[in-house]
C-alpha cells in the first residue's frame, strides 16, 4: 500500500474508533464488549466513562456485580433481584429526553450482562425499550469464559448469538502482552503460548503478569455502519497511567492513547532502511570510482551471440588463437 493510502487508512480507522469511544454522531447505539479473565473490560469501560464525562454525557451505570458506585458515574442503578421489566422501568426515566435538554446524550453501562441472560429471547425487547434512538448508547460486557447455563428451550439461539446479532459494534479484548508473545512465537515458528485458564495445568486460573510487560488492551473492533458495511480493525488502547504527573493528566485529560495494531513496533511490516555496509569486515568491500568505471566498460564474452535473437541464438563463435590451425575442410561451421 502506498504511503499516502496507508496513512489515509490509518487516520480513517482511528477516526472510526474515536467516534465510537466519544459517542459522536450516534456511532453505535449498542456496543458489545467481549472480555475474559485475562483481559477484563474495566480499562475500556473507564475509557468510555472518561470521554463521556468530557463530552458531558450522562453516565448511567447498571451494576449487576459491582457493589461500589464508580466515581465517574452519574446514576447508579443496582440490577440484582429485579426482573427485566422492573429494571427497564427503573432505567427508562433516566434515558428519556427531557424537554429542558432534548439533546442530552446518555451512555448506559452494564458491568456484566450474565444475570439477565436466563431467557435470551426476552433480551431484544428489553434492550429496545431502554435504548431510545438518537440519544443513548449502550455498552454491554459479556464474559466469554463463563459457560452457558443449560437453557429451558435448547432450540433457541444462545445468548451470545442473540447479542452479536443485535449489537452495532463488537469489541473483543485481549491483553497486549499476550498478543505480543503470540506474535513473537509466530515469528520464530513456535507454537503459540497458552495463558491462564487454557493452559493445561490444573489449578492455574490466571496468568502471571510482570510489571515490565507492556500495559495495553488490544481491541478487535467490528463496526457495523448504517450503510450495512462492516469495518474490522485492530487497535491498541493504552490506558492513561495513574502515575503521570498532574500536569500531564491535565493535558491529556486522562484519556488513553489509541493506535492501530499494525502501527505497533512489533507489528510493523515496513522494511528497514538501507543499512549501508551490513557486513562488518576488516577489509574494504566497496568500489572506488576508477574500479566502477572499469567494471562498466567490461565487455562480456559471447556478447555478439546475444544480439541476434531467435533462430540465430546458439551460434558458435570461434576466435582463433596463435597456435590454432584452421583447416578449411574440417572446421567449416
Amino acid at each position: 500500500m502506498s504511503p499516502s493510502a496507508a496513512s489515509h487508512h490509518r487516520s480513517h480507522s482511528l477516526l472510526l474508533l474515536q467516534k465510537l469511544l466519544n459517542l459522536r454522531d450516534k456511532a453505535s447505539p449498542l456496543t458489545l464488549i467481549l472480555d475474559n479473565l485475562e483481559q477484563p473490560a474495566h480499562p475500556v469501560l473507564n475509557e468510555f466513562m472518561t470521554r463521556a464525562k468530557i463530552s458531558k454525557a450522562k453516565i448511567i451505570f447498571i451494576a449487576l456485580s459491582t457493589l461500589k458506585k464508580p466515581p465517574l458515574a452519574d446514576v447508579f442503578i443496582r440490577g440484582r433481584h429485579k426482573s427485566l421489566q422492573q429494571l427497564a422501568s427503573e432505567i427508562i426515566p433516566h434515558v428519556t429526553p427531557s424537554p429542558s435538554s432534548p439533546n442530552q446524550k446518555n451512555i448506559l453501562l452494564f458491568d456484566t450482562i450474565h444475570p439477565l441472560l436466563s431467557i435470551p429471547s426476552h433480551l431484544p425487547s428489553f434492550l429496545q425499550s431502554i435504548i431510545p434512538p438518537l440519544t443513548t448508547s449502550c455498552l454491554l460486557v459479556y464474559h466469554t469464559d463463563i459457560p452457558l447455563l443449560p437453557q429451558s428451550n435448547p432450540y433457541t439461539p444462545t445468548p451470545l448469538s442473540v447479542l452479536t446479532h443485535l449489537s452495532t459494534s463488537i469489541l473483543t479484548l485481549t491483553p497486549l502482552s499476550h498478543v505480543l508473545a503470540t506474535k513473537a512465537a509466530e515469528n520464530k515458528s513456535l507454537p503459540a503460548p497458552v495463558f491462564g485458564l487454557h493452559s493445561s495445568r490444573e489449578g492455574v486460573l490466571l496468568s502471571l503478569r510482570s510489571p515490565s510487560s507492556p500495559q495495553g488492551v488490544v481491541i478487535t473492533m467490528e463496526l457495523r455502519r448504517k450503510s450495512g458495511r462492516v469495518v474490522q480493525e485492530k487497535f491498541v488502547l493504552f490506558p492513561s497511567p495513574p502515575t503521570t504527573t498532574a500536569q500531564h493528566r491535565q493535558q491529556t485529560k486522562g484519556i488513553g492513547g489509541v493506535i492501530l495494531l499494525s502501527d505497533h513496533p512489533a507489528f510493523s511490516t515496513e522494511t528497514t532502511e538501507e543499512e549501508g555496509e551490513g557486513i562488518q569486515a576488516t577489509f574494504n568491500l566497496g568500489l572506488t570510482e576508477k574500479q566502477r568505471r572499469d567494471r562498466e566498460g567490461v565487455v562480456l564474452p559471447y556478447f555478439d551471440a546475444q544480439t541476434e535473437v531467435g533462430g540465430g541464438g546458439g551460434r558458435i563463435l570461434y576466435d582463433m588463437g596463435r597456435e590454432d590451425d584452421f583447416d578449411e575442410e574440417e572446421d567449416e561451421i
Binding site: 459457560p147 489449578g203 502471571l208 503478569r209
Partner: protein, 265 residues
C-alpha cells in the same frame, strides 16, 4: 518450620480495601486451610488504630467444622474462644443441620429453602458481631461452592446464580470478603457434555473470579512431587497494575507450620 506469618505473604495478608473480594482457589492435593488460617490470624491480630473501628471476623464454613478451625488456629497461638468472647469472632456452621428435617418449614421442602436458611444464619451472626460497637467485619466463606452443588435453589440449574446472589448480598453488609473455592480441572473446564454440577460450579467460580480483586491460586508442583515443597501459590491481583503478580513455593509441615519461599532457594 515457622508457625508465624510467612514473611513473603505479609503484604497480602493485611486488611483489604472496602468492598474488596479475595478468592483462594484450591485443588485436590493443595488445600487452602493453611492459607485461610493465616488470613484469619492476620485479621484478628490487626493492631487497632485510634479512631478506626476494630476488625472482626465472621467465619462461615460449609465443609469443615468449628473444632477443626479451633485446632488449626491454636497452632498459630490464636484462641478462637477468647476472641469470640471479646466479640471479635463468630463462626457459622454451614454444614451440620443444613439438610436435617428440623430446618424445613412445615415439612415441605421449598425451592431455595436451604439457601435462605444459610443467609439468615449468617445475617444473624453478622448482626450479633456488629451490634453497637460498629466493627469492621471481614466475612470469610470457606467453600461456598459446596452450596452450589447441594442447593435446590433455581431448580438445580440456577444454583450458581442463586449462591452468587447470596454472596453479593452478604458482601454489601461487610467490610470485605474472603472466599475459598475448589478449582479442579473437571469443575472449572466443563467437558463437552457437562453435567449440571460441572456447569453450575464453573459458572459460579468464573463469575466470582471476574469480581475478585485478588486471587491466590494453589496448585501442585508442575514437575511432580518433592520432599521439601508441597505446592505452588500464585497471587494475582485485578488488572490495574497496583500490586505485582507473584508466584511462590510453599511447604506445609505436620504441626500446622507453613513455609513460603521463592523458587531456587
Amino acid at each position: 518450620m515457622s508457625t508465624t506469618t510467612p514473611h513473603l505473604l505479609e503484604p497480602y495478608l493485611s486488611l483489604p480495601r472496602e468492598t474488596s473480594l479475595i478468592v483462594l482457589s484450591s485443588i485436590l492435593g493443595a488445600s487452602t486451610n493453611w492459607l485461610l488460617a493465616r488470613y484469619i490470624h492476620s485479621y484478628l491480630k490487626t493492631p487497632s488504630v485510634e479512631g478506626e473501628p476494630e476488625v472482626a471476623v465472621l467465619l462461615a464454613s460449609f465443609l469443615r467444622d468449628y473444632p477443626f478451625f479451633q485446632q488449626t488456629l491454636s497452632k498459630l497461638s490464636l484462641d478462637l474462644d477468647s476472641e469470640a468472647r471479646k466479640g471479635r469472632f463468630a463462626f457459622v456452621d454451614g454444614l451440620t443441620g443444613l439438610f436435617l428435617p428440623s430446618q424445613r418449614s412445615g415439612g415441605r421442602l421449598q425451592d431455595g429453602d436451604d439457601l435462605r436458611a444459610v443467609q439468615r444464619q449468617i445475617g444473624d451472626a453478622l448482626a450479633g458481631l456488629d451490634a453497637g460497637r460498629k466493627r469492621r467485619v471481614v466475612l470469610v466463606l470457606d467453600q461456598p461452592d459446596f452450596l452450589v452443588a447441594s442447593t435446590s435453589a433455581g431448580g438445580g440449574e440456577g444454583a450458581g446464580i442463586a449462591v452468587r446472589d447470596v454472596i453479593l448480598d452478604l458482601r454489601e453488609k461487610v467490610h470485605s470478603c474472603v472466599v475459598t473455592v475448589s478449582a479442579d480441572d473437571p469443575l472449572v473446564h466443563p467437558p463437552v457434555a457437562p453435567t449440571p454440577l460441572e456447569t453450575n460450579h464453573s459458572w459460579f467460580v468464573l463469575s466470582l473470579l471476574h469480581e475478585a480483586d485478588m486471587l491466590c491460586a494453589l496448585r501442585l508442583l508442575d514437575t511432580g512431587t518433592a520432599k521439601d515443597v508441597s505446592g505452588v501459590v500464585r497471587i494475582t491481583s485485578s488488572r490495574d497494575g497496583e500490586t505485582e503478580d507473584r508466584e511462590y513455593l510453599y511447604k506445609v509441615g505436620g504441626h500446622g507450620g507453613a513455609k513460603v519461599f521463592e523458587r531456587g532457594q
